[in-house]
């Protein structure tokens, strides 16, 4: 009966419904302080980070178990990334970068659980993160170098007549950074989830032929898992690159 109804209605796909932000507690409209589904999944992200970082290192072993080894691996990975990309003098900013990395990676991966929600698929979240990075590195650049930070836009290795033109391009590219930084992450997260939802809708109406979209969902899910890690890495390494420009603006 239900199948007949579906057939009568035709194929209706709502891949964007999964991104709707709704209050979790109560039936009222969404207001700025409502405990929404995005807030709930950010809270779950926080719990995940606590379990990973705090519980994983509770034994403080010289010879680490598997869990502690993974935690130390991630710690070393992010620390080396900061040091290699932005230099040793960027290490004081390591906790901020580690925070961003943990938030993004846990949001991305937890968002792959069926029926869950991905906060990083929303431009508001990623733009806030990217703007925080943008404003922070700009302030750090001016605090460390004063007006010398503007040397970032003046490419002294280029021929003199070209320098003003390049300076305009550099300034534009600098201000585009937070946009590309945020849209890249949100876009990747949104696209993968929407695609999975579209395939799932196909599976719902294809009867026995559903195995084709199910196989496709499995393949895309694997790809999305990879994308979740890669996008967290890309977001973090770009943060390090921007920080490096703030600490060493000379070309």
């Amino acid at each position: 009966m239900a199948t007949e109804t579906e057939a009568q209605k035709g194929l209706e796909i709502h891949p964007m419904d999964q991104f709707l932000i709704k209050p979790v507690l109560g039936d009222g409209p969404l207001v700025w302080y409502s405990f929404s589904n995005t807030a709930m999944w950010m809270a779950i992200t926080l719990v995940g980070v606590i379990i990973f970082l705090v519980v994983g290192t509770r034994k403080k072993s010289y010879v680490p178990d598997r869990f502690q080894m993974v935690v130390e691996l991630i710690y070393g990975f992010v620390r080396n990334m900061v040091q290699d990309v932005a230099g040793r003098d960027a290490l004081p900013f390591f906790p901020y970068i580690m925070t961003a990395f943990m938030f993004v990676i846990f949001s991305n991966v937890l968002g792959l659980i069926p029926m869950s929600f991905t906060p990083t698929s929303h431009i508001a979240v990623t733009a806030t993160l990217a703007l925080t990075v943008f404003i922070s590195v700009t302030v750090i650049g001016f605090v460390k170098h004063g007006l010398g930070f503007l040397g970032l836009f003046w490419i002294s290795s280029a021929p003199l007549p070209l320098r003003p033109v390049l300076a305009v391009i550099e300034v534009m590219s600098y201000f585009v950074r937070p946009i590309s930084h945020s849209i890249r992450l949100a876009g990747n997260m949104m696209a993968g989830h929407a695609m999975i939802k579209v395939f799932a809708a196909f599976a719902g109406v294809m009867g026995l032929g559903a195995f084709v979209p199910i196989i496709a969902i499995s393949a895309v899910y694997g790809l999305e898992l990879l994308v979740a890690f890669i996008q967290a890495y890309v977001f973090t390494i770009l943060t390090c690159v921007y920080l490096k420009d703030a600490l060493h603006p000379q070309h």
Binding site: E12, H14, M16, D17, F19, L20, I21, L30, V31, W32, Y33, S34, F35, S36, T38, A39, M42, A43, T45, L46, V49, I50, L53, V54, T57, K60, S61, Y62, P64, Q68, V71, E72, Y75, G76, F94, P95, Y96, M98, T99, M102, F103, P119, S121, H122, I123, A124, V125, T128, L129, A186, M190
Partner: protein, 177 residues
């Protein structure tokens, strides 16, 4: 289901629903700060401590191993020196003992030679004495035999003395040859 569809139709692109931005930004700031506190106050100091203590332990262990290795090398050198010294000592001692034995052997040989020479000389003297004594006896026997023979053949006294003189002369001549 119909209500859900209505929501969907109203939704459009939820990411561009600006009315939800304050809510998202509020909770993002709250939970990002919470994660930062966990990372900054608990996780990083703890992991940093574990890693630095491990590095310190590894460094100490490596240093201890290096010292022990040096000690072992020193002991090996000392053992080799002692062995070389013992070898030199034993070789010296062996050479000394060999020389002593050779000296003793030579001395014994010399003593034996002297003794043998003395005994040979004495034996020669004894042989000479025995020879002289034998010769003396032969002369007397020959003299008596000649006298007897002559007495049997010629009973004249004066010839006997002459014969006796000839025999003595012959016997002496033979002895001197």
């Amino acid at each position: 289901m119909a209500a859900e569809n209505n929501v969907s139709e109203q939704a459009g692109i939820p990411q561009l629903e600006f009315s939800s931005f304050p809510n998202q930004i509020l909770w993002l700031v709250v939970f990002l700060l919470a994660i930062f506190i966990v990372v900054r106050m608990i996780a990083l100091p703890r992991i940093g401590q574990i890693v630095s203590q491990r590095e310190k332990r590894i460094k100490t262990d490596l240093e201890d191993a290096r010292k022990l290795n040096e000690k072992i090398e020193g002991l090996e050198n000392s053992i080799e020196e002692t062995l070389a010294e013992a070898k030199r000592f034993s070789e010296g001692k062996a050479a000394e003992t060999r020389n002593e034995i050779l000296e003793m052997q030579n001395k014994a040989l010399e003593e034996a030679e002297v003794t043998v020479k003395a005994e040979v000389a004495e034996a020669e003297k004894r042989i000479e004495a025995i020879q002289d004594e034998a010769l003396t006896n032969i002369r007397a026997i020959a003299n008596e035999a000649a006298v007897e023979i002559v007495n049997q053949i010629v009973p004249k006294r004066g010839i006997l003395d002459e014969i006796s003189g000839v025999v003595d002369a012959k016997v002496q001549g033979k002895a001197s040859e």
